[in-house]
Structures are given as structure tokens and as C-alpha cells.
Amino acid sequence: MTGSLRLNPIKCKAEGLCAELFPERIHLDAWGYPIIEPGAIPDELLGHAQRAVDACPRLALILQGTP
């Protein structure tokens, strides 16, 4: 099981928690909006990814699983 992160850019309001919690794959642009590195997230990082998803107050971040 691997996963990948997807952002709903309309919901996102640049709260910035995701980049705080998952700097391995998410950093912020010049205006505070997250840029997500493309590609599958390895197992050992899935926990961090899930925490970033759970922390988003706008529910803008989605972790999609691919079995």
C-alpha cells in the first residue's frame, strides 16, 4: 500500500500546518500556499502524511491510497 497527496486548491487557505508537519514532501510558496512534491509516498512517511492531512482545518489535503 502506497499513497499520494492531493490538494484541493479551492479549499486551501494557506493555513500552513501541512508544511509544518510534513516538510519531507510539502513546502510553502511565496504566498504561503503549499507546493506538494509529486510522486508516491513511501510507507515509512505515510504516518507523517496522514498527520498533515488530519491537521488541515480546511480539509483541503487528501491522501489517496493505491493498493
Binding site: N8, P9, I10, K11, C12, K13, A14, D29, A30, W31, G32, Y33, I35
Partner: protein
């Protein structure tokens, strides 16, 4: 009267010379009635004909029309037969006039295309989506709908829906959202309109020029369609041509023509310094690269440009490409739907520096800043609005690299400050319905 009695149209195929809209009778005399698909097999055969024709969408993305009809038809079968056709005439591109010119002459040909689409996918409803500001177009389509009702043609209901005069209102998810009762802003949903669109039903969203071509292909066949144009880019296309010498004009052009030939068709004019092809999401090209460039999807892609919505704008030598680019970019930044951060803040930030590059003073580091911002903005919106704006920006910075050096050294050139703008820029719009 059967189609067999009507001669297949020569060129022009779409842009006939009539100044008033063709009546239903004139239309039927001209091209005959559209074929009726009685069986399921007929419907799939029409779709297969469109696929063989090689017709691509003319709203901007250039997606193969037959493939789209097949996807929607397949979705509609799975959805238990519910489907809708959205004939897209929301020509929000300020420099484009082809859709309104086409509807002003051949409203019934466009409606035929939409109704053939409805037959093929099994839709019981057709919605013609028109901008509020296109008052004449709306009246023409209304009368055409009334004429067909009066003639008691057995065909699905056609109605008009109005779009606000905004750049992104014609984007397909925005169009569907507007028709479903919301703002004409793009959406970010799990399903695309071809899966779940108007009233949640699979929806065929198709530009009106594409529908007009489809209506002719359904009558005269894919071989006829391929008689003109090129193997890889068959048929003709409508282009809106702007230079500063002649009034903007809509031409029907065969694929395989060069940009130079298209411009000279408007009448004699001195060679321009550059062209913008594809509208405000399009790309600038210096004249040396543009003049002999062939209108052909593959050739255009190789030159990193595209036909887009069919706008060709020629920039005379006494104008400033940076000024034109900056005006267009600022307009696009203003026309953001205001939903996605990179589009709202990113385009605004770039527009501010781009404007100063054209009309004020900047440093070389400001230009590098624009390029770095541009990289951050692309592919991060719910729709392609920011990507389109950034594409135009990048081609502008490349094409007018010499002008950038001059502006950096000496400030804005006299042409930027004093010459009449070439690209039309509408005033501010309010509201999204």
C-alpha cells in the same frame, strides 16, 4: 429532401457570405436535413465517423471530438441514459469573435450539431451557453429555437443559459456550475463534466464551432471533411485576426495554410514584428518564426504554440510587445475567479512587476523574480487559468528579450508609453452569474 440531393459544401464551409442569420428553410436548402439516427448502431456509427474525421475541439484545448462523444455516450449508458449537451458559446476571450460570427450566420448548423450530439449520447436536453454581453447572438439563437419549435421538429428541448462576461466563465466546470445554479467559477470535483455535469448527468461540453463542423461531417462524411486541410489536421478552422490596419476579422482557414498567408488574407499590411497565436492563453512568436509556420496541430506543438481559441494577433513594428503582454497579463490576473491562492496572489504579484517592466522601472533581479514566481504558479490551480497566463508571459519574455534589455537600461520605450494598444482589454466586470 434528402442529403443526397444537396451538394457537399465547398469552401468556405462554415462562414457563408450571408449577412443575416440563415433561416431554417435556407439552412435546409443549403445543406439538407441532418441524418437521423434510428438505432443504437446508427448512433455509434456517427461517433465512429467523427473519430475518423479527425475533428478536434475548437474551444481551446483541441481535444478530439469523436473521442469525447464516445466517452460521454459510454458514461450516459452507464448512468441509465441520462445526458445533457452543453453548446458552449461563452466566448469570454476578448480578442475572439469567431463563435458569435458563426452563430450570426449559421445558427441552425450549430443547433444541428448540438442535436446530433444529443442523439449520439442519448441526451434529452441541449443547453446553449452564451455570454450576457452577446445580446445579438442570444437573440439569433432564440429565434432559431422558436423556428424549430414552430416547424415541430421532433428533437430534444433546446434552451439558453447565460454566462457572465468573464474570462473563465466558459471553462467547462465553470459552465456546468453556472448552469446548475452556481457562480460561473471553475470547480474542483471528483468527477469531470463528461461523467457528472449538468444535473449530475454525463454532459457533452462542446464549443459551437466544433458542433458546426460535426453537423457537416454527419451529413457529408469523414472523407469529405478530410478533402481539405492536412492528413494530421483535416478540415478548416475559424480564426479571429487582429492587426492595426484592418478591422478585426473572422476568417475560415484551411489547415496547412501558413500564418503569413492568413494575415495577408486580410489585405496588404507591412510585416509585423511578432504574433500572438491562440488568444490570451496563447504564445508570442517573432515574425521570423511565425511567417512560414503551418497551421497544423503537430507543427504548432513543435513550435511550442497552439491554435487555442483561434485568435491571431499581429504586432506591428511600431508597438511594444512588453506593453501588450503586460496589459493582457494584468487583465488575466484581474479575471481570476479568486478561488486558488497561487492564481489570486501569484498572478497579482507577477502582474505588478510585469507592468513596471513595461511602463516603469525595474531591475534585472525583478525579471528573474518573475521567472521564479512563474515556476511556482504553474499547475496549481483548480483550472488552467494561471497556467494559461504564465504560458503567455513566458513566451512574451522570450520573444521580446531585446526589448527587456532596452527597458532595463532606459526605462519604458516611447511605443509602450504612447502607442495605441493592439490587444483589446475589456473593462472591469462584476459578478459571476
Amino acid at each position: 429532401m434528402s442529403t443526397a440531393m444537396v451538394a457537399a459544401p465547398a469552401l468556405p464551409r462554415l462562414l457563408t457570405a450571408n449577412q443575416r442569420p440563415e433561416s431554417l428553410n435556407e439552412h435546409l436548402q443549403h445543406v439538407g436535413p441532418p441524418p437521423t439516427s434510428r438505432s443504437e448502431a446508427d448512433r455509434w456509427e456517427l461517433i465512429a465517423t467523427l473519430e475518423r474525421s479527425g475533428l478536434r475541439g475548437r474551444g481551446g484545448a483541441g481535444f478530439p471530438v469523436g473521442t469525447k462523444w464516445r466517452s460521454v455516450a459510454t458514461q450516459a449508458r452507464m448512468a441509465g441514459g441520462k445526458a445533457v449537451v452543453l453548446a458552449n458559446a461563452a466566448e469570454g476571450e476578448p480578442a475572439s469573435a469567431k463563435d458569435r460570427v458563426l452563430l450570426a450566420r449559421r445558427p441552425h448548423l450549430v443547433l444541428d450539431g448540438a442535436l446530433l450530439g444529443a442523439q449520439a449520447i442519448g441526451a434529452a436536453e441541449v443547453v446553449v451557453y452564451v455570454c450576457r454581453g452577446m445580446v445579438e447572438t442570444r437573440r439569433t439563437v432564440e429565434s432559431a429555437i422558436h423556428e424549430r419549435r414552430a416547424a415541430r421538429l421532433k428533437e430534444p428541448r433546446v434552451r439558453i443559459a447565460l454566462a457572465p462576461d468573464r474570462y473563465v466563465a466558459g471553462e467547462e466546470s465553470a459552465a456546468v456550475h453556472r448552469i446548475n445554479g452556481g457562480d460561473a467559477k471553475p470547480t474542483f470535483l471528483q468527477f469531470r463534466p463528461f461523467e457528472r455535469g449538468i444535473h449530475g448527468a454525463p454532459t457533452l461540453v462542446q464549443n459551437v464551432e466544433s458542433l458546426a463542423h460535426a453537423a457537416l461531417i454527419a451529413r457529408f462524411g469523414d472523407d469529405w471533411f478530410r478533402e481539405t486541410g492536412r492528413e494530421s489536421s483535416p478540415g478548416t478552422c475559424l480564426l479571429t485576426v487582429h492587426d492595426t490596419i484592418h478591422q478585426p476579422r473572422v476568417h475560415e482557414v484551411e489547415f496547412g495554410s501558413t500564418i503569413g498567408e492568413v494575415l495577408r488574407a486580410s489585405g496588404p499590411a507591412p510585416d509585423p514584428q511578432a504574433v500572438l497565436l491562440g488568444g490570451y492563453f496563447g504564445a508570442w512568436l517573432p515574425w521570423a518564426k511565425a511567417e512560414n509556420l503551418v497551421l497544423d496541430y503537430a507543427a504548432l506543438r513543435a513550435a511550442q504554440v497552439s491554435l487555442g481559441c483561434g485568435v491571431l494577433l499581429a504586432l506591428p513594428v511600431d508597438r511594444c510587445g512588453l506593453a501588450e503582454g503586460a496589459r493582457i497579463f494584468s487583465y488575466l490576473a484581474r479575471e481570476t475567479a479568486g478561488q486558488c491562492g497561487p492564481c489570486v496572489y501569484g498572478l497579482r504579484a507577477v502582474a505588478d512587476v510585469f507592468w513596471r517592466l513595461a511602463f516603469g522601472r525595474v531591475r534585472a533581479s525583478d525579471v528573474s523574480q518573475i521567472e521564479s514566481w512563474a515556476q511556482q504558479i504553474v499547475a496549481r490551480g483548480a483550472c488552467r487559468h494561471p497556467d494559461g497566463a504564465i504560458g503567455m508571459l513566458r513566451s512574451c519574455l522570450t520573444t521580446f528579450a531585446g526589448e527587456i534589455r532596452d527597458h532595463l537600461q532606459r526605462g519604458p520605450c516611447p511605443a509602450a508609453l504612447h502607442a495605441q494598444p493592439v490587444a483589446p482589454i475589456p473593462g472591469p466586470e462584476e459578478g459571476w452569474r
